[in-house]
């Protein structure tokens, strides 16, 4: 018995040794890492122009062997039916194997995103094992190829770092939506909602009068930013319905969507809003959402009604009119009512825009509707998409004041000017 085991073991060794093939082996130094994939319309039907943004691993490392003066990135554009076959065809120009391990973004030009065919190309991403569902989708105003090659981040020499940080920060402050492919597929398949994708451009307007000044209620490219900084802007959202781009949202609109949507991870928003005490000035407030939005729905009425209550905690951080609202109950009330009104109008404008212009909603309210139905069949018959534009929606903002800055009181303006 014991002897036999030994013999078995001896049998096993060649099993393992001979069977080995190293089939999936890929040396790190024999790969190049794609950080971003750009998709553009091509004039040939069934094909698209695909651009790879490839990182140079040697940049940013300091080794005894001596550094190099090579470029940080390179871009390659080729025409291809999808981005699976391209991985090999691109080797005509690129020396090493293409790896998607570091793939962070898929960039789509607005032109292609608005094309009906777009969804066909994007779905090949779900088939490729190496493309992760947490890759971000970015829509650019110009051609994706142009965006990728023109974008020249400052300070962040590693391109993946740039995209990672830019998107992370953008989502945190609410300028851009969380546009993971996972959500794209999910929303598209659910077929009831709008999907929001990050909107970005390097095509910054040059004419003075077309700039918007110091306000985020704009799309990427429309904001005036001076000085030498990154050549790309990430602001606002591209709106997708059934896998096709149908419009855009500005930065502020995107923030509203994220505030209303429970699933978004927005933590706090710093924003200027009009000072109720003095027309010329704006107060800076920090808006935090501490509870989930409460959505009451009556789907059995015709038209269905939705009542949304948005509980917000607001810290008033500046007081340019130097009115010291903290002291005075009346002033606080005034502040509250004007603020609520201001927000409600902003929100209602967006809701109306979604009902009229997009005919679908990005707020995730269909999820609340689901609770009202017992089975999927009932829910399908209700047809959220068709019903939504006719719904009666009203939004109620409830503000609780938090802190009033580090030092709640300011000396009164008049007192100083005396």
């Amino acid at each position: 018995m014991k002897q036999n085991n030994l013999i078995k073991l001896i049998f096993l060794i060649p099993f393992i040794l001979i069977l080995t093939g190293c089939w999936d082996l890929k040396g790190l130094d024999r790969q190049v890492f794609v950080i971003g994939i750009g998709l553009d319309v091509s004039d040939e039907k069934g094909k698209i122009d695909i651009t790879y943004l490839i990182a140079n691993p040697e940049v940013g490392t300091s080794f005894a062997g001596g550094g190099t003066e090579e470029d940080t990135v390179m871009t390659v554009t080729m025409r291809s039916p999808d981005f699976l076959s391209l991985r090999h065809s691109v080797n005509a120009a690129v020396a090493r194997e293409i790896s998607y391990d570091l793939l962070k973004v898929i960039v789509v030009s607005e032109e292609l995103a608005k094309d009906e065919e777009f969804i066909r190309f994007l779905y090949s991403a779900e088939k490729d094992r190496e493309i992760k569902r947490n890759t971000y989708l970015i829509v650019t105003k110009e051609k994706a190829a142009e965006f990728l090659s023109k974008n020249d981040p400052k300070f962040l020499t590693r391109p993946h770092k740039f995209y990672e940080n830019m998107i992370q920060r953008g989502i945190e402050v609410g300028f851009i939506p969380n546009s993971e492919l996972h959500h794209f597929f999910r929303v598209t398949e659910e077929d009831a909602n709008l999907f929001l994708a990050t909107y970005a451009t390097t095509n910054i307007r040059q004419k003075e009068d077309e700039y918007r000044i110091n306000e985020m209620d704009a799309l990427a490219g429309d904001v005036r930013i001076e000085g030498e900084t990154n050549s790309a802007n990430f602001l606002g959202a591209a709106v997708f319905l059934e896998g096709m781009m149908i419009g855009t949202l500005t930065g502020v609109e995107n923030r509203i969507v994220m505030l209303l949507h429970d699933a978004s991870s927005i933590t706090d928003i710093l924003a200027p809003i009009p000072d109720p005490f003095h027309e010329d000035y704006e107060l800076t407030v920090r808006i935090r959402k501490q509870h989930n939005t409460s959505v009451e729905m009556n789907v059995h009425d015709m038209p269905p009604k939705i009542h949304v209550t948005l509980p917000l905690t607001v810290d008033v951080l500046t007081d340019p009119s130097m009115e010291n609202p903290v002291d005075n109950k009346k002033k606080v009330e005034k502040l509250r009512s004007t603020m609520e009104e201001f927000m409600e109008t902003k929100i209602m404008a967006l809701v109306e825009k979604s009902q009229k212009e997009f005919k679908a909603e990005p707020f995730g309210w269909s999820l609340y509707a689901r609770k009202e139905f017992k089975t999927l069949k009932d829910y399908m018959e209700f047809d959220w998409m068709r019903t939504y534009p006719e719904m009666k929606i009203d939004v109620d903002v409830e503000i609780r004041f938090g802190q009033f800055g580090r030092q709640p009181k300011t000396p009164s303006y008049k007192g100083i000017r005396d």
């Binding site: 049998f11 099993f15 001979i18 069977l19």
Partner: protein, 53 residues
């Protein structure tokens, strides 16, 4: 690869037949037949499933 598979299958076949023989000697004839049957299946099966496709 193929050669290796053939050799491995043959080794297993011989091994199992040996076992069947020893069962036969232990007067467990049904068992021996069953094991022999398995061994034959193991020998023939690769032909149909692996080498034909």
């Amino acid at each position: 690869m193929n050669a290796f598979i053939v050799i491995a299958v043959c080794i297993v076949f011989v091994y199992t037949v040996g076992f069947a023989l020893s069962l036969w000697k232990q007067k467990n004839k049904i068992g021996a037949m069953a094991v022999l049957f398995l061994a034959v299946i193991a020998l023939v099966l690769p032909y149909f499933s692996y080498f034909q496709s």
